[in-house]
């Protein structure tokens, strides 16, 4: 179809007018349109920010979190959330999330993508080498101390209880004494 500019506007206007009629006719159908969370699975969670411990419901559809909102049944927040809790949706839906194992070689100016196997083996090797080299059997007083002073571990306040418990168990079994987390700061 050969359409002049004037003709195009006329045509477009006609389409818009038709759309307008469509919209007015469609009020009912807009009402009836199912909410996007209607068929979603509801998964209760707790806010990962401060320690008030507000309940949040995540709506999941086709494996994706499609909505998050305050849990009305939760006895602390009763559905309310602050700005951080309200923004939780953007954590699972965020293109800046890390999704690959990254490695930066000494002196390099870039990250390289690696496999889990490669990275975990190399880290395990680093742990063993440092521990074997730096293990302190006795201190200056000759007391048996069986400790590792050349590896430190920070963090845990953002982990689940089951994780942080396991972390402490793991690090203590290695003999670490420099074992700390956010509560200290």
């Amino acid at each position: 179809m050969n359409v002049s500019r004037r003709g195009f506007l006329k045509l477009a206007g006609g389409t818009l007018a038709a759309a307008g009629i469509g919209a007015s006719v469609g009020v009912k159908s807009a009402h009836a349109r199912p909410s996007k969370i209607r068929y979603a699975r509801e998964v209760p969670t707790v806010c990962p920010y401060c320690a008030v411990g507000c309940g949040i419901i995540a709506h999941v559809s086709n494996g994706k979190v499609i909505n998050t909102e305050g849990d009305p049944d939760h006895p602390i927040n009763r559905g309310s959330l602050c700005s951080k809790g309200s923004a939780l949706y953007q954590i699972p839906n965020n293109d800046k999330r890390l999704s690959k194992v990254l490695y930066r070689a000494p002196g390099s100016d870039r990250w390289e993508v690696k496999s889990w196997d490669w990275a975990l083996d190399k880290i395990a090797r680093n742990i063993k080498d440092a521990r074997d080299k730096g293990f302190v059997r006795t201190n200056a007083k000759g007391q048996v101390v069986n400790r590792v002073e050349n590896i430190a571990s920070l963090g845990g306040a953002g982990l689940d209880n089951e994780e942080v418990y396991s972390l402490v168990k793991f690090k203590r079994a290695l003999g670490l004494v420099y074992l700390e987390h956010q509560a200290r700061i």
Partner: protein
């Protein structure tokens, strides 16, 4: 929190200080407002800045950063002078009547210090009680003996008169008088007052004593253990309570057991040192059970090893050495620490003296960061950090982690409620949950030691690590958090009969009262024992019914210890078991059934049978606390960096704080360390170059070191810039207009950082000792990574910590501010 969030609704007076709860714990205000609507409760707020919390308060007063002990000390003095104390509570439930060693002397006698000061350490021999022949403290229940705690307390705080207090804090005496009158009105047995605090209280060189001052005040007013009372730390990270309970800290093991010291060479010696004895039949002395919990922990970690032996597996720390975060920074900078793990922590932004921290990271051989995002810590080698990558030899692993909704497990809130979170979705791409990552590392390190042997391999080879998902091959590495939760709770390791009841091996231990010292039980964290039963994981409970109407919600999730929602609740009733407050009882005694009703009671037995504070040796709330490093009574000192002399004594700063500035200079270490640890102390000529008090604070829209909010578009848009807030007076003096870019410097960072000036009337100059002092506040959350970026506030903060805990002094230090001329 001694109490919990919902309980705030029962308070008659709420005092918020060292916290901006309306901004940083907004949902707590649901209950602050409920108390005001339902009970006509009043809200007090005391803060250096007029915050969102101040805006809603009935009474607001100012104080200069770091002068909380002067303010609270003044209130304690007021309560004692006006007789505003709950007398029966004080006499029966606190150590007010205990007679103290007559050789004990305090700051009133020794011009600012306590007896026993030797260099920068106290010999605490005189901080002791006069004991009877059974080893029980002697008491004077008339509270008249000059050596009783009550009289010593009175004498100590008599120095905190209104005039002196206001001179120190820069506050207004009329406002203080009104607040003192209002808050101490909760001494009435029917009334309760709560204190809500956060890091404005703790992040000082005397932060622990700030909290102690609250404890003294609350005990005098009879506000501990009661509904609407308590000392309530508003904790800042979703599971910082849980990670403290499970002891990711150098000095403790799970459940607040002590980490072993080098002087404790045998398990027996360790148990002896940590198991207090008490011959007072009314003292429950709960820590007398220590061996049961310690042995059950060792059996959870090394199931098949005798505890005497597995005790050797845990590294012992040298008795006189500190291994906390500030020393970690120093040890990294000195090149002694070679490898560092960061599990969701961002020390390049969140630690003190972060410029030093980033330089120290460059001394590592390797760094492993496990996070959702590329953090400043993981990226410390990049040009954005102001360095040349080629010069940094550290190898860095950045492992993508699963977020909270992408895995399952529990977290513990400030009120000690451990709540389960279910998995909603898979993590993105190759990201994995932290439990998987650490479990893989355990198996791989185990495998290396099996294959190659190595130094002292036994603790690793014999470590119990069998968290296979139900129905899966146990050798497969799929840790199941539900299995870990069972180990945390603890289970029987053999068939036993206790008090006539038979328990089979593998059954969950129903409560920590049944844990054993003979190796027949394991429990990874005794305070969580009772959280998982044979039939139910109580962390998953979602019954929000409230049958008592008091807001305990006993069937919602689970709370440690043993689902007790208000701890020390034994102090909420009189000696006959009658609640002090009839309209908001916590527990009450049913004389017919001979049982306690209401919340889970603290300690057993009939009313009056036991002293209420079951976790302290003598069973009494401690007005006098000999366990502290820096004195049994809180005493005002100035922050390490201050413009004014201590107006109360000649002791300028706390005499026992770890002075890294001095230590580092004396050792003539690396110049980088000397600079990073430098302090602008009172009396030094540097003081005039940095005349402005600075504090750091947070906003609703961002969180901690920023990695969880600066990557989110919605939150980044709300607060997109780093700013420094200052008074209109200071801005005028410095010719700075709102929004302009200014440079802020401290002695540790004389190049300074840039931030937008936010000029508000919320800060006002203080007049202290006739001197006009300005205070400014910097936003905590910014860094060079994220969708929104900005300068790091901690590039300016000092490397000095609290005398008891080593929490850094983030809240009071000296800076200078200049307009950036373009």
């Amino acid at each position: 929190m001694t109490n919990h969030w919902n309980d705030i609704q029962h308070a008659d007076v709420i005092m918020i200080l060292g916290s901006n709860a309306a901004e940083n714990h907004p949902i707590s205000f649901k209950y602050v407002n409920l108390a005001r609507e339902k009970r006509g409760a009043k809200l007090i707020n005391v803060d250096p800045r007029f915050t969102r919390t101040s805006a809603t308060a009935d009474k607001y007063a100012r104080l200069r950063s770091g002068t909380d002990i002067a303010f609270i000390g003044g209130m304690i003095n007021y309560a004692l002078q006006q007789g505003r104390i709950q007398k029966d509570y004080v006499v029966n439930y606190t150590n007010a009547a205990f007679l103290v060693n007559p050789d004990f002397k305090g700051p009133a006698d020794l011009d600012g210090v306590f007896s026993g000061l030797n260099g920068n350490k106290y010999d605490k021999a005189t901080w002791s009680y006069q004991l009877d022949e059974n080893g029980v403290p002697k008491k004077d229940t008339t509270l008249q003996d000059p050596n009783c705690v009550f009289q010593l307390l009175k004498r100590h705080y008599a120095r905190y008169d209104m005039e002196t207090v206001c001179k120190i804090t820069g506050g207004d005496s009329k406002e203080y008088e009104e607040i003192y009158d209002l808050y101490t009105s909760t001494c009435s047995p029917e009334k309760s007052g709560t204190i809500m605090y956060a890091m404005g209280t703790t992040q000082h060189t005397y932060g622990s004593q700030n909290v102690r001052a609250f404890a003294v005040l609350q005990l005098l007013l009879g506000n501990i253990g009661v509904a609407g009372g308590g000392i309530n730390a508003l904790r800042g990270e979703s599971n910082v309570q849980g990670s403290t309970d499970h002891a990711a800290l150098f000095h403790i093991l799970p459940g607040y057991l002590q980490a072993p010291k080098a002087s404790q060479q045998t398990y027996q010696k360790y148990l002896e040192d940590n198991t207090p004895k008490n011959s007072d039949p009314k003292s429950v002395n709960w820590w007398g059970n220590y061996p049961k919990y310690a042995t059950s922990l060792l059996k959870a970690w090394w199931r098949d090893v005798d505890p005497e032996k597995s005790y050797d597996y845990i590294g012992k720390y040298d008795d006189d050495v500190n291994y906390s975060t500030i020393p970690i920074i120093e040890q990294m900078a000195s090149g002694k620490i070679k490898g560092l793990f960061c599990w969701g922590q961002n020390p390049a932004v969140g630690c003190p003296s972060t410029r030093l921290v980033r330089r120290a990271l460059a001394k590592l051989d390797w760094l492993v960061a496990i996070d959702l995002w590329e953090t400043e810590t993981a990226a410390f080698w990049q040009p954005e950090a102001g360095v040349d990558p080629a010069s940094i030899k550290t190898e860095v692993f950045l492992l993508p982690a699963a977020a909270s909704m992408e895995k399952e497990g529990s977290i513990s809130n400030s009120g000690r409620w451990a709540q389960w979170r279910w998995k909603a979705t898979e993590p993105p791409g190759d990201a994995r949950d932290d439990l998987y990552i650490m479990s893989e590392l355990v198996h791989r390190v185990k495998h290396l030691y099996e294959k190659e042997s190595g130094v002292f391999p036994e603790p690793i080879l014999s470590l119990s690590w069998d968290y296979a998902k139900a129905g899966m091959d146990p050798s497969a590495h799929h840790p199941d958090p539900r299995e870990v939760a069972k180990e945390i709770n603890g289970f029987f390791l053999k068939d036993v009969v206790i008090n006539g009841t038979a328990y089979k091996a593998g059954q969950m231990v129903p409560s920590f009262a049944l844990l054993q010292a003979d190796g027949s039980t394991c429990s990874g964290c005794w305070i969580y024992c009772n959280s998982v039963t044979d039939t139910e994981n109580r962390l998953m409970r979602r019954d929000n019914s409230d049958p008592t109407g008091l807001g305990f919600y006993h069937n919602w999730a689970w709370c440690w210890p043993v689902n007790r929602r208000i701890i020390y609740n034994r102090a909420s009733v009189d000696l006959n078991g009658k609640p002090w407050a009839k309209d908001k009882p916590v527990i009450w005694w049913d004389g017919l059934k001979k049982t306690w009703l209401g919340d889970v009671p603290d300690g057993g037995g009939a009313p009056g049978a036991v002293h209420p504070f079951i976790m302290v040796n003598h069973g009494h709330g401690q007005l006098f606390s000999p366990g502290m490093t820096d004195g049994p009574f809180p005493e005002h000192y100035e922050p390490l960096e201050s413009q004014v002399p201590n107006l109360l004594s000649k002791q300028q700063e706390s005499p026992v704080i770890a002075r890294y500035d001095k230590a580092v200079q004396e050792k003539v270490c690396d110049p980088m360390l000397v600079e990073g640890a430098a302090a602008c102390v009172f009396g030094s000529p540097d003081k005039d170059r940095f005349p402005i008090y600075c504090t750091t604070y947070r906003v609703t829209e961002h969180w901690q070191a920023g990695q969880m909010t600066r990557w989110l578009p919605w939150l980044g848009e709300l607060v997109p810039h780093m700013f420094v807030e200052m008074s209109e007076e200071l801005a005028k003096e410095k010719q700075i207009r709102n929004g302009e870019v200014v440079r802020i410097t401290s002695i540790r960072n004389q190049e300074g950082i840039l931030a937008h000036a936010m000029v508000t009337p919320r800060f006002k100059p203080f007049t202290v000792n006739g001197q006009t002092l300005h205070q400014v506040g910097m936003l905590w959350h910014f860094g060079y990574k994220g969708r929104v970026t900005g300068a790091i506030a901690n590039d300016l903060t000092p490397l000095v910590g609290d005398a008891n805990t080593m929490i850094p002094e983030y809240k009071a230090f000296l800076v200078n501010i200049e307009k950036v001329r373009r």
